[in-house]
Amino acid sequence: MDRIPILRMGEFLLVTIQVDMHDQLALTLQDDLTAQITRTGARGVLIDISSLDVVDSFIGRMLGSIASMARLMNAETVVVGMQPSVAITLVELGLTLHGIRTALNVEKGMALLRAGAARRSRA
């Protein structure tokens, strides 16, 4: 597997990371996602990491970059489903993923994106 699939759900993009990514795969995902946001005009990106049992500083940094880049393209990013053991480890590592929104699961993440999109279209 050399690419992580990106699903389109209405005005949002959904990425489910299910494999232990090597660094190049993570960088490819970053490129693919930004290209997809431009192409589809997506308003939000949902990244489901519930299958990941390790998130190190490299993956953490990648998630942060995706969120920053998406924001520049007017799309919000929500990371969902982080496992407790991963969260505890990231805190100990000193990585707080500042500026990334999080939700417990895909459903709650979607609700968050929808609320955000509604707020922004009102503004």
Partner: protein, 134 residues
């Protein structure tokens, strides 16, 4: 301290970093580390393997299973062939980076394990030893 098992994993590409994570995970599971401790050790290994790859031009990880009743442990030794670290103390600080990352590698890894040691000299490569006890 008796070493009951030993294996070596070469670190030459980012696929090897994944391999390091998998090997460490498997051993930690065999030793029945708690899920949180497994995750901490695997994450530390990932940071150190990437360090060896990015700053040390590759190298290897030596993995040792330790038995010291009533406790058992895993020791990981990362050896690289890089330029070495001239100021270990500075390199341990959060935010210190030469590779454009977050600079959490060494200091972060230290917080995830029970024992941590760095030996390095300019031109002589770097050797990082971490141990986690169960």
């Amino acid at each position: 301290m008796p070493v009951v098992k030993e294996e070596t994993v070469a670190i030459g590409s980012d696929a090897d970093v994944v391999l390091v994570r998998q090997r460490v995970r498997r051993r930690a599971q065999e030793l029945r580390f708690s899920l949180v401790d497994q995750t901490k050790l695997v994450t530390a290994a990932s940071e150190l393997a990437r360090n060896a790859l990015e700053h040390g031009r590759g190298g290897e990880m030596l993995l040792q299973v330790l038995e010291e009743p009533p406790r058992s442990g895993l020791r990981l030794v990362f050896v690289d062939r890089g330029p070495g670290i001239s100021n270990v103390e500075l390199a341990m600080k959060d935010g210190y980076t030469t590779g454009g990352g977050l600079g959490l590698g060494l200091g972060g890894a230290k917080r995830l394990v029970n024992e941590f040691a760095v030996e390095s000299a300019p031109g002589a490569g770097t050797r990082v030893t971490v141990t986690k006890w169960h």
